[in-house]
């Protein structure tokens, strides 16, 4: 027997998705694989998803795998690789589950008496207002008089048939939905339905208790539910719903009940309210009229909540008695971001949420707008800003997120988690879909980069002493001709459907490139002979991630069309630092002056031979580094889609000339710290020091009260990205108002605050269409407001001087009159910015 001790790495514990992946890998070996949690003493068959989940293993638990069988050597190496490589990464990033009870403050508009507010767990952001629609429970309870029952063997047969039918239904459903969250969740459910321990336990119950198949399933479900419910992990407790969901489906199939799948009709816009909504029920809902979701059970990490987020449906869960406090048809507002529900909202509350919904959509619009603008510096230097992707879904998401191309399409993910590598046809279908989704924009497909840190079980490459310097990527293509031929043929054929390019990883020598070029030429001949279409002029390129490649650029430029700098590996090999080794990790930095000079040499070297060069490592997504890329005159950078808006906004404010000067001085610096400080300083100057812009001035507003006016001022700052937490800033403004109202007569008020929730010192201006009362004693209603918001950290800054100067000028009637009669936001900004003391 072989033992592999390890510390459990997944922060959400052992739940269905990683467990089902664990089982898949364990299943590929003949040996018995037992998972032991040393903290709890729980033991589980490694080939049973449910048994693994039922160990309720938490992050950090000491664990051990016991492997015993005729292939235990191979199995232990395989499991070790899996635990070290893929497993820690196979849990999807989840929003941190909110602990019920830890409630955030209510915004001021919701603090009035007499409001019917229910508070739960913020599970999917957004605001919705619609009448409630109560959904009944789909609980798999036996009918009165119990389920029909035959002999034990008949019941076992009934059970097996129903499980088989449910499995088939799930598989056909999986085939019909696009890859993504929905498919992952179906996959996790499938692995529960087909779990040998689960069905084994149910069959055993039938034989031992002589119970009906339905009862046996309920007993089995309860057993697992009890184990999970006692877990310390909120996330694992929420998995109970998944098991109930699967059992409901099997029982419904078995007895031909309506059960889940018989989706309730949603005839008009509604907020659906339910005790619990199983993921499959959510999927079955007609979402056209589904505006929001309120659940008595579940939480932020339940699969239903994950689905709600994926489909942009606001959702609040964990309001225990919601089904008894609400009637169908009752008007309600769901505030998914704050995790609350307002029943029968009065006008003021409805107005608050209308304003907030407008503001949120404004914010989303402006973020999108930023990401959609082209990557070009303020003085017109072009740099293509593309995205890295690893699946067809990510390609589509990248383009809707503003990518100007796919600078790196990783293909490793297609090969992971399966015993047999995908064939040519399967790859062709995927690459062609990615190419079509790109609508003419470039998609750079990188051939398989496996080995080393990314092992692939199906290749059976023995473990290496030093995988980063070992047998990986282009180095193993010669030994696996079927693999690389299939992939290259698939890419070539996909090139008939869009702007596809080929890129080879880990090139260290010219002969490697020549071999691949020859192979491509041969495959093109084959395709010609077979009459299959492809782009004869397809561009080929290589990753620059091994320093040796950077010194033969003249030779490489004769062979390829483009280069992409893999900054992570290149820096690691160049600096001789293993990033994962804590003792030396601090030496790893792309801001090493030596590395900056090296990059310059590469970019200049490629350009000298008339070819183009991009960069696709993590450095590309570092907003501090963005000005350096303009300084290099690099042609393209490729980064995570979520960072495109931020990087573009930096690039668009930079001048290429300044960036070149910045780069020269950075390359001359003596330490990475000095470089980083210079980059931060550059970024700060770029951000500018404007206190007020046209975006923070609004000259028409229908606010009906002081409360609404202050909130609108704060909303203006939020939409301009100047405050982090609008509710907190609103509170800070009101705290100041309570000591003494800030009306200054003549229809003007100057509310102000100093708060850590303010990220940029700001002034917002609001002119009301109709004046509002400012305080009880105030004879003079207010219609012109100037909000001054100062960051708590601002001490003796230039901004405070400007604000003090502005405050002094406001005392003067001529200045006030000029402000109040200004014709547009621009004129107001000019007046406020003028620093001279107007007396």
């Amino acid at each position: 027997m072989v033992e592999i001790p390890f510390v459990f790495p997944l922060k959400n514990g052992m739940h269905a998705r990683p467990a089902s992946r664990f089982r898949e890998v364990a299943d590929s070996y003949r040996s018995a694989i037992t998972f032991v949690n040393r903290r709890t003493g729980a033991r589980a068959n490694g080939k049973s998803t449910l048994a693994l989940v039922a160990t309720v293993t938490l992050a950090g638990d000491p664990c051990v795998l016991e492997i015993e069988g005729d292939d235990e050597g191979e199995a232990s190496r395989g499991m070790e690789r899996f635990l070290a490589g893929e497993f820690p990464a196979c849990d999807e990033e989840l929003a941190p589950p909110e602990v019920p009870g830890a409630l955030q403050g209510l915004p001021r508009a919701l603090r009035g008496g007499g409001l019917r507010i229910e508070r739960g767990i913020a599970s999917s952001g957004g605001i919705a207002r619609a009448p409630a629609l109560l959904l009944g429970r789909n609980s798999p309870a036996p009918p009165p008089g119990g389920w029909p029952k035959g002999s034990d063997e008949e019941e076992v047969t009934r059970l097996r048939a129903a499980v088989g039918q449910t499995e088939a239904g799930m598989r056909s459903r999986m085939a019909s939905v696009p890859r993504g969250v929905e498919q992952d969740i179906l996959k996790a459910h499938l692995s529960i339905a087909t779990d040998p321990e689960f069905t084994g336990h149910a069959e055993e119950t039938i034989r031992r208790e002589h119970s009906a198949a339905g009862d046996a399933l309920l007993v089995t479900a309860r057993r697992y539910a009890e184990t999970l419910s006692s877990s310390a992990s909120v996330y694992l407790r929420e998995r109970v719903l998944d098991i109930e969901d699967v059992v409901s489906r099997i029982i419904a199939t078995m007895y031909g009940l309506g059960g889940p799948g018989a989706a309730p009709q949603i005839p008009r816009d509604s907020v659906c309210v339910a005790d619990a909504l199983a993921p499959s029920d959510f999927i079955a809902l007609d979402r056209r009229h589904l505006r929001g979701l309120v659940l008595a059970r579940g939480g932020a990490t339940s699969h239903t909540a994950i689905l709600a987020r994926a489909f942009g449906i606001p959702c609040v869960s964990g309001i225990a008695d919601i089904c008894s406090t609400i009637r169908s048809g009752e008007d309600m507002i769901v505030d998914g971001g704050r995790g609350l529900v307002v029943l029968a909202p009065p006008d003021a509350v409805a107005r608050f949420y209308e304003r907030e919904a407008r503001n949120l959509s404004e914010i989303r619009r402006s973020l999108r707008e930023h990401a959609e603008l082209p990557g070009v510096s303020a003085d017109g230097m072009r740099i293509e800003i593309g995205a890295n992707a690893a699946s067809v879904d990510e390609v589509s998401a990248a383009f809707s997120g503003g990518a100007e191309g796919i600078g790196l399409f990783r293909t490793e993910m297609l090969f992971m988690g399966r015993d047999v590598p995908p064939g040519e046809e399967e790859q062709y279908a995927l690459y062609a879909e990615a190419a079509r989704n790109a609508r003419g924009k470039s998609v750079i497909i990188r051939t398989l980069d496996i080995g080393g840190d990314k092992p692939l079980p199906s290749l059976h490459i023995p473990p290496e002493e030093n995988p980063f310097l070992g047998y990986r990527a282009i180095r193993l293509y010669a030994a696996y001709p079927a693999l690389i031929n299939a992939q290259l043929r698939a890419i070539l054929r996909a090139s008939a459907h869009g702007n596809v390019k080929i890129m080879f990883p880990m090139v260290s020598a010219l002969h490697e490139v020549k071999a691949m070029k020859a192979l491509i030429a041969r495959l093109m001949n084959d395709l010609d002979a077979e009459g299959l279409a492809y782009n004869r002029d397809i561009e080929t390129g290589i990753m620059v991630e091994i320093p040796s490649a950077a010194f033969i650029l003249d030779q490489l430029c004769a062979e390829v069309d483009f280069f992409s700098i893999g900054s992570n590996d290149l820096a690691q090999y160049f600096l001789a630092v293993d990033r994962t080794n804590r003792s030396v990790a601090s030496l790893y930095t792309p801001f090493h002056p030596s590395f900056l000079r090296f990059l310059k040499q590469i970019v200049d070297g490629v350009h000298a031979h008339g070819k183009w060069v991009g960069l696709c490592g993590e450095m590309g997504g570092n907003v501090l580094a963005a000005p350096l890329f303009l300084g290099y005159g690099i042609d393209e950078i490729s980064l995570s889609t979520s960072l495109i808006g931020a990087v573009k906004s930096v690039v668009r404010r930079c001048s290429a000339g300044d960036c070149e000067a910045l780069l020269s001085s950075a390359m001359a610096m003596e330490s990475p710290d000095a470089v980083e400080a210079a980059l931060k300083d550059f970024a700060a100057r770029l951000r500018g020091t404007a206190l007020v812009t046209a975006d923070t001035v609004r000259l028409s507003s229908q606010c009906l009260s002081k409360e609404e006016a202050i909130r609108e001022l704060v909303d203006i700052l939020q939409a301009a990205g100047r405050v982090d937490d609008p509710d907190a800033v609103e509170d800070a403004v009101w705290l100041r108002e309570q000591t003494e109202p800030t009306g200054m007569g003549h229809g003007v008020a100057i509310p102000h605050c100093k708060s850590p929730a303010v990220s940029v010192n700001s002034i917002a201006v609001l002119r009301l269409d109709a004046p509002v009362a400012w305080s009880a004693s105030e004879e003079d209603p207010v219609h012109f407001l100037i909000l001054i918001a100062v960051a708590a950290s601002a001490q003796g800054e230039e901004h405070l001087k400007i604000i003090a100067g502005l405050a002094r000028r406001l005392v003067h009637e001529d200045f006030r009159r000029a402000l109040m009669t200004a014709t547009g936001p621009g004129a107001i900004v000019d007046l406020l910015e003028r620093r001279e003391h107007a007396t």
């Binding site: 003494e740 100057i750 102000h752 002094r808 005392v811």
Partner: protein, 109 residues
């Protein structure tokens, strides 16, 4: 504002302190309003602000000693208040200084 110059005619020599809770706006508005109104009435005035940038235009013991009167336009306690032990102090709210400066100066008689 140069305090040491003698006030014109029957004008007075006034010292003042302004301070409000957050110290970012009203402190300075009140200071400006007091200076503006004093000038209009022919008084000489020096206003110390105790705000977000700390104490500015600080009053010395000599300046206070030479003054006829001190005005505190404050919403929080004045810092270093012991300097004003031997002078008549008129305390008003910051709000009053901003909105009704004329009525403050009318009281000075």
């Amino acid at each position: 504002m140069v305090f040491h110059e003698t006030a014109e005619g029957d004008g007075m020599n006034i010292v003042a302190v302004t301070a409000c809770p957050t110290g970012i706006a009203h402190t300075y508005m009140a200071a400006e309003q007091l200076e503006k109104t004093a000038k209009k009435h022919g008084h000489a005035i020096k206003v110390e602000t105790q705000g977000s940038m700390g104490i500015e235009n600080e009053l010395t013991q000599e300046e206070i000693g030479a003054a006829d009167l001190a005005i505190f336009a404050v919403g929080i306690p004045v810092r270093n208040a012991e300097r004003f032990a031997n002078i008549r102090v008129l305390e008003v709210s910051v709000q009053d200084a901003i909105k009704n400066p004329e009525s403050i100066f009318a009281k000075l008689g």
